[in-house]
Amino acid sequence: LTGQAQILPGNLDLLILKAASLGPLHGYGILLRIEQISRGALLIEQGALYPALFRLVRQGLLRPSWGTSDNNRRAKFYELTSSGRKRLRQETKDWNRLVTAIASALGTQPEEV
């Protein structure tokens, strides 16, 4: 789709952690929340979300629990753990550093060299 960017490998975990940090969500809810906070700019392969969720649960960064969704359907909700919060802070810091460095490199003008 035009205007949507493919997520770089490894960044999906960061986005899931961010979405879950805003409140417990089920898998589809996380997908919608990422679309919402990225203003629809990121294209996420829907099925690829679940292996990432299982991985984050195994790493102890998310805590799953079964509940009922808004449309009265049984769903598994994911909540950020304290380790997940710590990891999110660290990953965000690293990401900002990377973005600043790349932006600085890309914004360099010939006369600045």
Binding site: G47, Y50, P51, A52, F54, R58, G60, A75, K76
Partner: protein
């Protein structure tokens, strides 16, 4: 925390497998249903919305497999499945199983034997210097009374050690059996060994320090002067033990006269060989010398 989460996930995957599978199916179905609801609200028919939702989700089986791998313990699960399958196949074709086990046993045995040899000869040889002159001496009573009869009695060992002038030092050692049926026998041997150690503690020290070979070599050279030297050869191998006639060339009389009967004791096979050729008529008790050195003329 992370370790606990990992173990919890692993245990769930292993012991609550069917439940986990059911939950995973339900979770993915709920996702597709939620998406279909949204698409239906946007104006699509129910059937079309479901179809579109499935297409957007992608291959369910592929993602399920990825989820199983991410959950942890997939390798263990796969291993257990393979083991069960293997056992079923083994029971089903017993002839093949027996052949496979036999082949493996032979292969492992042959490899172990070759490795033991390489290890003993190349990787971890004995730490004694001058191994070529280290010899083993035992009492030879002229008849085969079994392996135990080759042991040298403590008194004889003392005598051999104090009176011989061929070997600068003589020590004793003991081989033990762990077989329960021979335990009583081993206890007697251990007692004897203890007495030996009391008597030859200093020589054991030489052995442990790796100087034993060196003192033997010096002893041999001193005994035979410039005429003889020691060679690392198996006593029974052709060309080393007199089968090529080399031993016949050695004149034992000066040695025997100069150093007494003990020379003959230490190189008993040498004299026995000569006796067969009618060159010697020694009647004293004999000792065998094994595994390494022969003494021959340095021509």
């Amino acid at each position: 925390m992370k370790v606990a989460a990992f173990l919890r996930s692993l245990a769930s995957g292993l012991f609550r497998r069917s439940q986990m599978e059911g939950e995973m199916d339900e979770e993915l179905r709920a996702h597709i249903a939620n998406r279909a609801d949204d698409l239906e609200r946007s104006g699509l028919s129910h059937a079309e919305a479901e179809r579109r939702a499935r297409i957007e989700f992608g291959g369910q089986e592929r993602y399920k497999e990825e989820c199983r791998e991410e959950r942890g313990g997939a390798w263990l699960e796969s291993l257990w499945t393979d083991v069960r399958f293997g056992l079923r196949m083994l029971v089903k074709s017993r002839g093949f199983s027996a052949l496979a086990v036999l082949t493996l046993a032979l292969g492992i045995g042959a490899n172990a034997a070759i490795f033991s040899m390489v290890n003993a000869l190349l990787l971890h040889p004995y730490h004694f210097r001058d191994l070529d002159v280290l010899v083993r001496v035992w009492e030879d009573r002229g008849i085969d009374e079994g392996y135990d009869a080759r042991y040298v009695a403590p008194a004889d060992a003392t005598e051999l050690s104090t009176h011989n002038e061929i070997f600068e030092n003589v020590t004793t050692y003991e081989m033990r059996s762990n077989c329960p049926a021979r335990r009583g026998h081993t206890a007697r041997r251990s007692e004897r060994l203890h007495r030996h150690r009391q008597n030859y503690g200093h020589i054991d020290g030489h052995l442990r320090a790796g100087r034993f070979g060196a003192v033997i070599r010096r002893g041999i050279r001193r005994a035979f002067g410039e005429r003889c030297t020691a060679h690392s050869r198996n006593w029974n191998s052709p060309g080393a033990g007199g089968r090529d006639g080399r031993l016949d060339e050695i004149d034992s009389r000066p040695c025997a006269e100069a150093y007494g009967d003990r020379v003959g004791h230490c190189f008993a096979r040498f004299f026995r060989h000569q006796r067969r050729h009618g060159q010697s008529d020694l009647r004293h008790r004999e000792y065998g010398c094994h595994d390494s050195s022969v003494v021959r003329r340095n021509s």
